[in-house]
Amino acid sequence: MTALLRVEHLTMRFGGLTAVNDVSFEARRGEITALIGPNGAGKTTVFNCITGFYKPTAGRIAMAPQGALDTAAIDALTRSGARGRNGLFLLERMPDHEIARKAHVARTFQNIRLFSGMTALENLVVAQHEPLMSASGFSLLGLAGAPRYRRAERAALDKARAWLERIQLIDRADDPAGALPYGDQRRLEIARAMCADPALLCLDEPAAGLNPRESADLTALLRAIRDEHDASLLLIEHDMSVVMDVSDHVVVLDYGRKIADGAPAAVRADPAVIAAYLGVPDDEVAAIEQEIGA
């Protein structure tokens, strides 16, 4: 599997506080990569750097939506000073909306950010702004009701319908998003992000607040996105059953540093990870493991 996102030596400081300290990892194409760690480990900050909401203090974030990441090409791009070319992008140089539009990175938010006064359907149509906007020809073709725009609109509605059916919300398509139950809102936000055609979908705690049934549905949805929609996933999650069940690759952060990186089973057995979650130094882990019989 080739990587499509490479984060190198990412550092983010807020005043005197270093939230992320020299973190490097990769997300591979066709895989689900989980970013875990205790509260305050810097996971969401990493997300915000990748998606351009924060400008990192230092480090490089390379993204290749279609092709492969090639170290020589990344270095050449870095030297050129450009934001991106030939399907390769340096995200730390791009504003947030360009990252979504050109580098094809979409995201959801920890506290759901739907357009609550717009219907579920409208939410999914807004996410297809880019293709619709170019079809509407600076809105002039759209104003005139040109066939080209009508075709594009129909295609957008079909896509929205398919996603609403996929997340079992087709009956509530015309309800305001803010009126949907919490679990439905979570799924709708994922569908909305998918309507933006991402190569990499970043999910910030998608299982937070879901009951076990909804969590199981979510796991199935994430797998379907990976297997059927040609998108790779990067997710922050606290629910370990979801993480271990769904992810192909796990990166663990603690106090802004990466402490482990590997397959779920390997990470689970890593003493450093256990120590981080239990809040004790590494050398005491063995003792604790004995105590709890692990």
Partner: protein
């Protein structure tokens, strides 16, 4: 040089008045995150209250002693303007605290329109000239062409401003009320859970802000000797500019910003063009908000995602 010195004196005088008004903007913004658009009109109202009190003293009670009447109108205007702002907060803003962010601003714009037109309707459209007070002037230097003067009024303004700021600083720094204010500024919900009466603290903030605006109103009236119902808008915007320039939310910033705006305005008028003096203030407002939104002494605002 003489011109420079004279403008320095005039600028500090004007800046003291702006600084006093700016504190009201900055405190309210600090505690409930709202641009209190009506504050300039509260200032104008206070100048009217002071004018009427002064006339009442002279014509109804026959009190003419300048220092005594000054003190009476100062205290009277502070108290009555405080009452006004207390009621304004109760009726126009309190219900909007949980509402969307622009709701209190729109309500405040409505309140600003109401206040200026209320005074217009009640007191008529004309400029109202106050009986002159503290008219003596000290000649500092007598140059060949230009005398630098320092009037009693200017001394009075700077002295009153400085002493009231000291009292105010004591209240904010050393009293339980000041502590409650700072707690609400940090996190009103948490402060409420810890037993701070948030409503009362916010009311007190409005009353104090209005009292300081009233001081500015009285000083404005003594300095210019004339007031009109439309006089709230421009000084209000300038004082807001001062608050923004100093760093909104920061009280020393408001005073510093006020002095700077006062100086810039007088020097601009003296050396460039008096016609465009308001353009200077408005441009500073726009430039500060665009390029330096946390001002000189404010805290930067990190966007939460």
């Amino acid at each position: 040089m003489e011109l420079f010195l004279q403008q320095l004196i005039n600028g500090v005088t004007l800046g003291s008045i702006y600084g006093l008004i700016a504190i009201g903007y900055t405190m309210v913004f600090g505690i409930i995150g709202m641009v209190n658009f009506a504050h300039g009109d509260v200032f104008m109202l206070s100048a009217f209250i002071a004018l009427i009190l002064l006339l009442a003293l002279q014509q109804m009670l026959g009190v003419f002693a300048p220092v005594l009447s000054f003190l009476i109108i100062l205290v009277g205007a502070m108290a009555l303007t405080g009452l006004w702002n207390y009621m304004i907060e109760r009726l126009a803003y309190r219900r909007l605290r949980g509402s969307f962010r622009l709701a209190p601003l729109i309500s405040a714009i409505g309140m600003s329109i109401f206040l200026s037109n209320f005074v217009y309707v009640m007191q008529g459209p004309r400029n109202k000239a106050a009986p002159p007070m503290f008219d003596k002037v000290i000649k500092l230097t007598s140059g060949s062409s230009y005398d630098v003067t320092l009037s009693y009024k200017q001394i009075l303004i700077v002295v009153v401003t400085a002493s009231l700021l000291a009292v105010f600083w004591f209240i904010v720094q050393k009293t339980p009320l000041g502590r409650a204010q700072r707690a609400c500024e940090q996190d009103a919900k948490m402060a409420a859970l810890l037993g701070v009466d948030v409503d009362r603290t916010i009311s007190a903030t409005f009353v104090i802000g209005a009292a300081l605006a009233a001081v500015a109103g009285v000083l404005y009236l003594t300095y210019y000797g004339v007031v009109n119902s439309q006089d709230g808008f421009v000084p209000g915007v300038k004082a807001f500019t001062a608050a923004v320039l100093g760093g909104i939310g920061s009280i020393p910033g408001a005073v510093l910003g006020g002095l700077l705006i006062g100086l810039i305005e007088t020097f601009w008028s003296a050396y460039f063009s008096a016609d465009y003096k308001d353009v200077a203030a408005f441009s500073i407002l726009a430039i500060t908000l665009i390029f330096m939104p946390s001002g000189l002494l404010g805290r930067p605002d990190v966007e939460k995602v």
